[in-house]
Amino acid sequence: MDSQNSELVKQQVQAELANAYAQEFFTTVREKCFAKCITKPGPSLSSGEATCVSRCTDRYVDATRMISGVVLQAYSSGQGGV
């Protein structure tokens, strides 16, 4: 495989992985925030429910970022064992 082709393959692999990750993230957040915020499904999403979902999404992003840092630190200080 020539180097140009190699580069294209690498980019494609990374794009596919990023896509799969984003899809999984979305699915998880939707499930969690629906459970937390829409306790009694009504005829439409109330503004309270919409606000809750927005916050929930943002907090989940925050939590993921935070935990990412914690895990990185744990791995680099040899606390691994996953």
Partner: protein, 79 residues
């Protein structure tokens, strides 16, 4: 018998790195899944310090729990 094919070493290194990153992401995703439920009951405008501390501790305890279990089932001090 099919001839042995070897992957270009540069490509192999690339795939190893991507695999490592994917595994890291999987661990983080699992921890976030479990710990968000334990630590964030009512999502607010930001993560307060209790939630932050809880998430951090939860992640570490979860990893430690895994280590403990691993050493147990792989023949650590079994009483």
């Amino acid at each position: 018998m099919a001839p042995q094919q070897s992957i270009d070493p540069q490509m192999a290194a690339f795939l190893e790195e991507e695999k490592r990153k994917a595994m890291f992401n999987e661990v983080v995703a699992k921890l976030a899944d479990v710990c968000f439920d334990k630590c964030v009951s009512k999502p607010g405008a930001s993560l307060d310090r209790y939630e932050s501390a809880c998430l951090s501790q939860c992640a570490l305890r979860y990893l430690e729990t895994g280590q403990l279990i691993m050493s147990r089932i792989s023949g650590g001090s079994m009483n």
